[in-house]
Symmetry: C3
Subunit: 304 residues, 3 copies
């Protein structure tokens, strides 16, 4: 098979979707938004991006939701709700529940990366876009574990995005937002020291269905239709993201994920990426327990 | 040094073995078999492959055994037989021996990847070929730990392959085979619910030498000359692969590797990538204990 | 944007620093020294290198210190001094303090790799250059945790290099040096069986400031102005590197980092990447305790 690669190659992009013969020419495209705007790529799929420092990585681009151009930067996956801050709990602590380690793994606010895009619903995922991309909005998909990427959109149990361009106020991405609002035990009190809550627009689901995913006991203290950041619980433990809701009380570990390294109540029962989502049994959706669907879905985080 | 890269580049392949100056042009070659068939590459070594979804990865191709074209997709490595389902036991559980986590890490049947080809005898290895390649047969090499890849063939203590094209019956690779036969505690009983046993052709070793690698107590319940999948033990714990043998009894944890997340007997003594290979002492080859050679070799898994 | 890539491309190198449009043409450049010598690259930053076996990786090149051409091959990072050989302690043991696992993770002398260059002060880092590059000298930077690479030089608390070309005597890199001097519990006695100590030239700091970084109790048994390898303590535990000092006693765990899998004294208090640097409190710099600066900086290792 002959390939002449001299000449005009301006039409080439970073698309490697079911690629046939292609030269691996990387343009310095930093985000899915850039790929869409510059090269008019309109198909959801895997793309190679390059950070401002030249690091190349592969991730998933949602090119269709609300104008497209959404870059998958992370996924929060619970591999074992019975493992309390064990191996795999990268978004809280992998060294147990420990007051001497209040920040835990610290992955909400560092440059560590882990996982792969194809395994983003099999395990945690975090790529350099998380800290490199200068973004305005976020979108979130809750996708059942072990779903291959080409089915994510179809299989998702909830999908939404922001339109307020809120990330401009917080440094342009979660790396900077969580520097301003550290995900750390004992840095503040519930409600008064919480991070921001941003209204969302639903792409699948609504305020009611969102609240139904979390335990009945949570519904009196949440308002649907938001994404909230760095919510603190009654015992001053920090969580990272409350997906689909705004907290109006202090039991945030029942509806917010990720966190620092220490959760005092019922030590260590709240410690882990999906915090206390099984407080009253696995997937029972009674008391504080989330539904089985919520418990068994990975939370995919996108920037635009 | 000048390089003109216009013109006919059909002779370029994915070979990066002791490469001098080369352009990194990736053809969408999915497997070592494809590299051999299409481009006539005849040398064992490291090659870059691309999955059907465009993920690029590097692995080892065995281009010489029985016609060549074998892709290394995984290695099972025991870093510490005394660590019972600790960090590093990716093919069973890294969260201890736990009846609440019957599937354990689940890496036999998910899209997670880990390790590198150069470290495949220093640590576990699993690349996207494991779930992406559509294969017919498997080959297995037992190679002493810490052997560099260019010595694997020479240093191996056992090598064999299948010729029955059995993977066609099970979805084309182990990802699909282990979906059909989950590596999970308590899904079935020993013998009656075991996965398939496939006859093998030896490239180094024979039925007798195979049985000698495992403990004397195992030899009455194994038949040499097979590779077996998802063998279950007396207490309903699942193992993943019995290398070189077919089980005819229920003490499979003494001659089969990998598994789910719970092994009831002697809790937690059977839990770990090399299960109970040191049941009667480290490398003693008495009672149920495997030989030191077997215990200290990584198990390399290939597809064609 | 048009790109003609036919013709003379000898001026292209592996520089991807704030890259605009560029083809990803990899030349088989093995080290930063080679990049500097062959292509005259004079800027510190991220570069892609290729091992002798064709493995491509990205790391940081220091092109300015003492003639430049230094390749970052590893970083030793302490994520939690209270975690005694827990997850993250890759340079000692992640399976606890265990006399049955005297070599621990073994990462000083194997081909495993982990981490990324951008996260080299957020977590441990080790790339294939560690075992692949044939080098003469080393340099070391102690850089505060969570510093982005473009600030490393500026933020470092200590920097030095060797000029003796000592690595020639030990196989050309640390992989070979640590094969000759295994980082393993119980292979020898303090002082008499220690590995080499090499005089250093300071780029930032001096012998006095070096000693001040470690606890007051250490200063009577160290001599500043050296880098030392495989120092053994009184209880026969092995450490890997004593940065900036030569041991003249047996309490090396208070000023040397990394190690094997077992440290008898105060079991498990000495076990971890920064060993017993907090023996008398966190960052107190009293007794045996190192200063807070030393405790909270990652140790970056370079070859030339």
């Amino acid at each position: 098979m002959e390939h002449k690669i001299e000449g005009n190659i301006s039409h080439l992009t970073g698309v490697f979707m079911r690629g046939k013969c292609f030269p691996s020419i990387f343009f310095s495209t930093k985000s899915c938004k850039e790929v869409k705007d510059r090269y008019g790529q309109a198909e959801d799929g895997l793309y190679y991006l390059t950070t401002s420092t030249g690091v190349v990585y592969q991730t998933f681009c949602d090119m269709t939701t609300a104008g497209g151009g959404w870059t998958l930067v992370a996924s929060v996956h619970e591999d074992n709700i019975y493992g309390k801050c064990t191996v795999g709990d990268r978004w809280t602590s992998q060294q147990g529940n420990n007051a001497n380690w209040p920040k835990g793994e610290g992955n909400w606010a560092n440059r560590k990366t882990f996982g792969t895009v194809e395994a983003a619903t099999d395990d945690d995922f975090k790529n350099p876009g998380y800290y490199d991309i200068d973004a305005e909005d976020m979108s979130v998909w809750h996708v059942p574990n072990k779903t291959p990427f080409y089915h994510w959109n179809l299989a998702a149990i909830m999908r939404y995005h922001t339109e307020r361009r809120f990330l401009h106020l917080y440094g342009g991405n979660l790396y900077y937002l969580f520097h301003r609002y550290p995900v750390e035990y004992n840095v503040g009190a519930h409600l008064s020291d919480n991070g921001p809550s941003i209204p969302i627009v639903y792409d699948l689901g609504d305020k009611e269905s969102t609240k139904m995913f979390y335990g009945p006991n949570t519904r009196g203290e949440t308002e649907g239709g938001f994404i909230s950041f760095r919510a603190i619980n009654l015992e001053r433990a920090a969580t990272a993201i409350c997906s689909g809701v705004k907290p109006k009380g202090g039991e945030v570990d029942a509806y917010c994920i990720g966190g620092g390294g220490f959760f005092p109540q019922g030590n260590p029962l709240q410690c882990g990426d999906f915090t206390s989502f099984a407080w009253n049994g696995y997937g029972t959706n009674v008391g504080w327990s989330a539904s089985k669907q919520m418990l068994e879905s990975a939370v995919l985080l996108f920037y635009r």
